[in-house]
Structures are given as structure tokens and as C-alpha cells.
Amino acid sequence: MTEPFLVVRNIAKRFGALTALANVDLEIRSGEVLALLGDNGAGKSTFIKILAGAHPPSDGELVIEGNPVAFSSPKDAAASGIATIFQELALSENLSIAENVFLGRELKRSILGIPFLKRKEMRQRVDGLLKELDAHISDPEAPVGSLSGGQRQAVAICRALNLNARLVIMDEPTAALAVAETRKVLALTRRLAARGCAVVLISHNISEVFEVADRIVVFRRGRKVAERLAAETDHEEVVSLITGAHPDVRALEKTN
């Protein structure tokens, strides 16, 4: 197995007296979809916020390709190749797909000192990304406001890819989608991994997780209580891990 893209070592997060996350160790590999499961308040959100640079950890360290990193803002995380696609996608409905993908990082050429957009290059680049993702969007000039929820996810993924993200974190990407749209987004998630990206997927839908994930990590009460290869576990075991009925979890919670 190759060296993991990101190693999480003994990460903890405390908010005052409240311990939101304790002693989390995790390896995130390129080309792999890692699903984070857990009940509400299990610590998933806190964990991805640390990865995204939105919260500094209270303890522990993040190591990207062998180098320890410390993020003081989401910008730092983005610069290290980590892109987070939050549920409320930060897309501008009034702008085109291509404009959204490049927003804030436009390609430009300077004429008389004035930066002009390289519209054709941006369009072609986005066209290529959409084709590569097989996103079924024919026209990068279409306004994002005219797209469906699934298509918007695809645009957000394109945006992440275009920022050269090596790790894409997706926070419940299918929560608000219809069935057919959900299928497309799951397929996109797979293709993202096939492209060599590391993907961290947060979901509440266990059957969905089994469909796309290579590995499943379960959080419970601020701890990582289990890690399984998707091929070596089943729906029932995962549910018992989440609820704490599984003997492993019981043993773990008894010793602590």
C-alpha cells in the first residue's frame, strides 16, 4: 500500500470543559473513498472542520505526505490540497458554471495593466472537467441557477478539482437530493477517487455508504470506535457500531 495522503495522529478537540473529539487516529489514502458514520453529536462535523482548517485541534497533529501541517484558516487547508464541499454549496446562482468553477481564481491576461478574463480557456477547462466527471452537463455557460441539486454538486466538485484538491471532503452531499440525482452524485464520488483523489464522505445513509465507500469509520461520543473495510462488514454490524450495541464498542466504552 502506498503512503497515505493524510495521517491524523491523536487528534483531540475540546471546547472549554466539553471534549468534542478525543484521540482520533486515522489514515486517509489517495484514490480511496472513506466514509465517516456516526450519530448526531458523534464528532464527525468537528473532525472534518479540523481537516478543513475551520477549527484548530486542541491536541494531536495532521501529517500530509510525511510533513506535519497546521492550519489556521480554511485557506491554509485549501493551499495544502484539501477542499471541503459543505452542504450549503457556496455557488453563485447568477453566474455560469465556468465562472463558478473559477470564481476567486480566474485565469486572466493583462492588457495595458488591466486583468482581462481568459474566458475561452476557462470554458474549455471546465468543459474538460465536466466530461471527465461524466457530469451530463453539456454547456459550461449555463447559469448555476438553472441546474438541479445534483448538477450543482457536480459543479462544486469541479471547483474542488480545479483548485487541485488532493482530498475532497463531502458533507452529506446527497441529503437534499432525489433518488436519480443521488445515484449521479455517488457515481461522481467514485470517479473522484478513480482520479486519484482522496475522498472523505459524511453520510447518514448506510446503504449509500456501502455503495461507494472503500473503508468505513464509525464515530461515537467523540471517539473513533471502529474502522472496517466495506467489503468485510455489513449493514447490521455498522448499525450496531453506531448505536453502541456491538461488543467491540461496549468493551471499548467499558475500559474508558
Partner: protein, 328 residues
């Protein structure tokens, strides 16, 4: 291609809204020509165009402001202050070249003041500029000392009333300003950022857009355009009266909204603004010529604003709601 496209991208791209405005302009011209024997003369046409110069320049800036989700209700008085500065410089030594520089400079300076209040001070644009309106109105009164600035030298007029290759200088200035604003809006990152901010400031910030910088620059651009408008105002009338610019902000906002720019930000039409200004000025001039006192002009403008926004609200409320979609 069948897919919905972003429209209004070309220099003069026209859509339903713009075509209906053009038709409205032509219709108004026909009706006024029939109603008044003085209407359809070349002299009157020149008057209407002449009266549109300041509003066109200010309207371009107001289009940017509204598209960004901003507004400036003090813009008329800003033109008044710039006009006073130009008048003073012109009155002192009659040097028209100096006078030409003063207008945009004072406009830019006042744009910085507005931006300081609204952008840096985080006062909502409508409230902040309303406050400045009060301050500036008194400033105009104090600066003029209760008297008109009149009998200004004709040197500026002589310079700006000329033609270059047969094109009158004001028309040339408007063409250049239009093209510059269009390029900034549709062909530079600045324009994209402005439209993104107009759609949602929070999302724009999350996308890594320098929101404060873009908003600040836009108020300065609007100020510069207003300063240029003041220059043409002084050149034409050679005086500055106490009530200068008092209906200009209302007219500018009305023209821009008529033109299809959203009061909520995020989409705008520059050609729509031009047609909106022309329609407004055609109506105001025509009503005057058929005997409606000029007192009624703001009523017409006010009714137009309310009518257009009311009509859009009704359209957007319908399930078809195509009006607000796919415009940017």
C-alpha cells in the same frame, strides 16, 4: 444550443426587457408627436439627448451599485458638490483643463467617503447614503452661501461643446464610459466578483473574493462617473443652483430598474440602463411639451419605479416566474 444561457453578455445584447423599452421609447415619441406640434423637431430631440447626458453617466455607476446589492441615494448631491468645485476652479482662472480634472477627482474623493461609511463602516448602503444626503445637502447650501454660482466663464463650454470627427464630445464621453463599464463588468474578474457579491456576499466571501475591495472600488467608480457628469453639467448650464441634483438619484434608480437591473443585486443590464434613461427623459420632456407642469415629473418617475417593481413581483410570484431566471 438549447440550454439556458447567461444573457446580456454582449456589448449591446438585447432581450425581452430591452426590446420592450425600445418599443416604449418609440411609442412615446409617436404619441407625443401627435399630441404636440412642438415635439417632433430636431431641436427638441437635441434637448432630450442633452438632458440625458448626466443621467446616463450616473446611471452606469448606479447599475454597478445595484448589481452589487448596493445603492447610493446621495448621488445627485454628490454631483452638486463636484459641480461647485468645478465652478469655483473655473471662476477663479477660467482654465478649462484644470476644471476637467477637478470633477472626477472630487467625485472619486466623495466616492471614497461613501465607501468608508458603507463598506468600512458596515452601515447598510441605503441608510449610509441617506445620512450622507442630509450632510451634503447642507454642505451645498453652506458652500453656495445661499446664492447661485452663476456667470461662469465659457471656456469649459467651448471645450466640451465641440465635436471630434463629427461626434459631439458628450456623446463620445458616454460611449467611452459605457464601453469601459461594460468591459469591467463582463470581461474582468472584477465584474464577476461584483455580480457574485450581488448574489450573496457570504458566498462570495467563501469563494475567496476580496469583498471589501470590490465594494469599495465600485463606490469610487460611481463617484468618478458622477464627477464627469458634473463637468458636463457645468459646461452646459454655466451655473450651479441651490437645488442641483435633487431628483437625480430618484431618476437614476428608476432608469436602472426600468432597464432590468435587479434592486436585489446579482443581475444587471447596461443597455437596459441606457434605454431606461432615454425613456425617462422622453416622458419627462414630452409631458412638459403637452402642458403637464414640471412639478409632476417626480410623480411620473415614482410611479414608474413602483409600477416596474410591482409588475416584477407579480411575475416572479407566478409559477412560471421566468422573469428573474437566467439573467445576470
Amino acid at each position: 444550443m438549447n440550454a439556458v444561457r447567461l444573457i446580456g453578455d454582449g456589448v449591446f445584447s438585447m432581450n425581452g426587457r430591452e426590446w420592450s423599452l425600445l418599443v416604449a421609447c418609440l411609442l412615446a415619441i409617436v404619441i407625443f408627436s401627435v399630441a404636440s406640434p412642438h415635439y417632433a423637431t430636431s431641436g427638441n430631440a437635441a434637448t432630450v439627448l442633452r438632458n440625458s447626458v448626466e443621467l446616463l453617466l450616473i446611471g452606469l455607476g448606479m447599475t454597478l451599485l445595484l448589481a452589487m446589492g448596493g445603492i447610493d441615494v446621495s448621488i445627485g448631491i454628490v454631483m452638486g458638490l463636484a459641480a461647485i468645485a468645478i465652478g469655483r476652479v473655473l471662476g477663479a482662472d477660467g482654465n478649462p483643463l484644470l476644471a476637467i480634472v477637478v470633477g472626477p477627482l472630487v467625485g472619486a474623493l466623495l466616492g471614497c467617503v461613501t465607501a468608508a461609511v458603507v463598506v468600512l463602516g458596515r452601515v447598510p448602503a441605503i441608510v449610509g447614503t441617506l445620512g450622507l444626503l442630509g450632510v451634503y445637502r447642507t454642505a451645498v447650501f453652506v458652500l453656495l452661501g445661499g446664492q447661485w454660482l452663476s456667470g461662469l466663464p465659457s471656456s469649459l463650454t467651448n471645450l466640451l461643446a465641440t465635436s471630434v470627427l463629427g461626434v459631439p464630445v458628450p456623446a463620445l464621453a458616454i460611449a467611452v464610459a459605457y464601453l469601459a463599464v461594460w468591459l469591467a463588468l463582463r470581461r474582468t474578474p472584477y465584474g464577476l466578483h461584483l455580480l457574485a457579491i450581488g448574489n450573496s456576499e457570504e458566498k462570495a466571501r467563501l469563494s475567496g473574493i476580496p469583498v471589501i475591495k470590490v465594494r469599495f472600488i465600485t463606490f469610487v467608480i460611481s463617484g468618478v462617473l458622477t464627477g464627469i457628469a458634473a463637468t458636463f453639467y457645468v459646461a452646459t448650464y454655466r451655473n450651479v443652483e441651490m437645488t442641483i441634483g435633487s431628483t437625480l438619484a430618484l431618476d437614476a434608480i428608476a432608469a436602472v430598474i426600468l432597464g432590468g437591473t435587479s434592486i436585489l443585486g446579482g443581475r444587471c443590464s447596461l443597455i437596459g440602463t441606457v434605454l431606461g434613461v432615454l425613456l425617462l427623459r422622453i416622458l419627462q420632456n414630452g409631458l412638459l411639451l403637452i402642458g403637464v407642469p414640471s412639478l409632476w415629473q417626480p410623480v411620473v418617475t415614482g410611479v414608474l419605479i413602483i409600477g416596474v417593481l410591482g409588475f416584477e413581483a407579480v411575475c416572479n410570484g407566478l409559477p412560471l416566474g421566468r422573469f428573474q431566471r437566467a439573467r445576470a
